[in-house]
């Protein structure tokens, strides 16, 4: 069982391919690192893998099937900027409940305090918000997570805490995790396997 992208290609401006002929596979429980720098098309790839964007060429399959049209998406994307990923007018409890009702245990694992639940996003720091975004993505039906520069804006301690929890949950639930980052040292520490976007674009490289 895997998330597979075959011969993916994408561009924003005609005839300026951001990437082409990209083949990618993330299996259950696998932690795959994708290294790339800003401007290399990694956010577009992240959006295609999580069905936010349609590839211009190629196709994408979750466990051998096409993505569901309307229901909950089994591939969840976690963005770099948590403050943009939550509705600024909603309280944090509503932000979580839009996905599912997480139990106390998972909240505790990500260090989410009870008093944060009634706050608005503006009253929390980037690191605190990102913890909510991760818990929100860990819906019982989530099978794959794409983390696009998820901890780039956070300090080293918060980064280490968040990754240690997310990795252990992914291993427990056999969630396939793709970590997209420009930080080679981070990927080397976290992933079972690391590919660079350059390699994906041009396997001969």
């Amino acid at each position: 069982m895997a998330l597979t992208g075959n011969d993916l290609g994408f561009y924003y401006h005609k005839n300026e391919w951001l990437f082409r002929h990209v083949n990618i596979e993330i299996s259950y429980g696998e932690i795959l690192g994708i290294s790339g720098y800003s401007g290399s098309g990694k956010t577009s790839l992240a959006k295609i893998l999580s069905n936010y964007l349609q590839p211009i060429e190629g196709n994408l399959k979750v466990d051998g099937r096409r993505f569901p049209q309307k229901d909950f998406q089994p591939v969840q994307l976690i963005y770099q900027h948590a403050e943009k990923a939550v509705n600024p007018k909603w309280r944090m409890s509503d932000v979580l409940n839009e996905s599912y009702r997480p139990d106390e245990q998972i909240l505790a694992r990500f260090g989410i305090k009870k008093e944060w639940m009634t706050r608005f996003p503006i009253e929390l720091s980037g690191g605190e918000l990102q913890r909510f975004c991760i818990v929100r993505a860990l819906h019982p039906a989530t099978k794959y997570i794409i983390a696009d520069e998820m901890t780039t804006m956070l300090d080293a301690i918060t980064q280490a805490e968040i990754w240690s929890e997310l990795l252990s949950i992914c291993k427990e639930r056999q969630i396939g995790l793709a970590i997209i980052s420009h930080e080679a040292a981070l990927l080397a520490r976290l992933c079972d396997r690391v590919v660079s976007l350059k390699q994906l674009k041009d396997p001969a490289y």
Binding site: S38, I157, A160, W163, H182, A188
Partner: protein, 270 residues
């Protein structure tokens, strides 16, 4: 070293905001409680802290661009003179240069080459702009594009090019490097170092300790709006034995290059 001039000195700075809770009731939040730094001419000071630790606010306070509901305590001195709102307005862009964090500071309706030319001497603005573009690895044709047509990393380089001017004594770079290509990253860091070597005082606000250490002389660590410790860059080595404060040590050890998960009693689950 006594001939070195302290360009910027911030003593016990506090910044608080008045917010309306409900109707007319107000409350104060104080993101910066007690912050002290000093930067000398010719040195790079890295200001390191978690997002939300108030790093950017310090820059905004020095530049005088805090929002209207903010109140400041403590003192800020620039070249021995206390900084007032009017001197801030006079100095910014002329002697104090700011490289902002967000690429949203660019004008979305103006070609990027023209934005770089703002404030340049009119006769040779073209050649300086082209020179700056090649220095930051931007192609000449990119100059004709509008901000939305460029990638985040390229925009960041454009931002950098807009802030390089002659006559600058203090450069404040707010998070100038997230996620960019190693070559562009080292180009930007080298440029900051070059500023310092030419006698400019450089304040590098970042959470990326590793790259900051490659060019910094001193590092100030912030936590919850207060200065934890100011230390020499070379003290960040081994397991952080030479670092005074336990927070600084954890921050250093939590890096993926160092102990990462095991930076302090986090159980080794692997």
């Amino acid at each position: 070293m006594k001939d070195k001039q302290t360009v910027l000195k911030v003593d016990n700075l506090s910044i608080s905001f008045t917010q309306y809770v409900k109707g007319l009731k107000t409350r104060n939040i104080t993101p910066i409680k007690s912050l002290s730094i000093a930067i000398e001419a010719g040195e790079v000071l890295a200001l390191v802290g978690a997002s939300g630790s108030g790093k950017s606010l310090l820059a905004h306070a020095v530049l005088g661009i805090l929002p209207g509901n903010a109140t400041c305590g403590g003192t800020i001195t620039y070249c021995g003179q206390p900084l007032t709102e009017s001197s801030k307005a006079r100095l910014r862009g002329k002697e104090i240069s700011f490289i902002p964090q967000s690429v949203n500071y660019l004008d979305p309706l103006m070609r990027v080459a023209d934005q770089v030319k703002i404030g340049l001497p009119r006769d040779n603005a073209d050649s300086i702009q082209k020179d700056l573009f090649s220095r930051y690895g931007l192609k000449e044709k990119d100059g004709r594009l509008y901000p939305f047509e460029l990638s985040g990393g390229m925009l960041r380089r454009v931002l950098f090019a807009t802030s390089v001017r002659s006559g600058i004594k203090l450069v404040i770079a707010d998070e100038p490097t997230p996620g960019i290509h190693p070559e562009a990253l080292s180009a930007i860091l080298n440029q900051l170092r070059k500023f310092a070597d030419e006698g400019v005082a450089v304040m590098l606000i970042t959470h990326d300790i590793v790259s900051a250490l490659t060019i910094s002389d001193k590092v100030t660590v912030l936590k919850n709006g207060s200065t934890v410790e100011t230390t020499l860059a070379e003290n960040f080595t081994d397991n952080g034995k030479k670092l005074q404060h336990p927070y600084t040590r954890s921050l250093w050890n939590a890096l993926p290059q160092n102990s990462f998960f095991n930076y302090k009693g986090v159980s080794d689950w692997l």
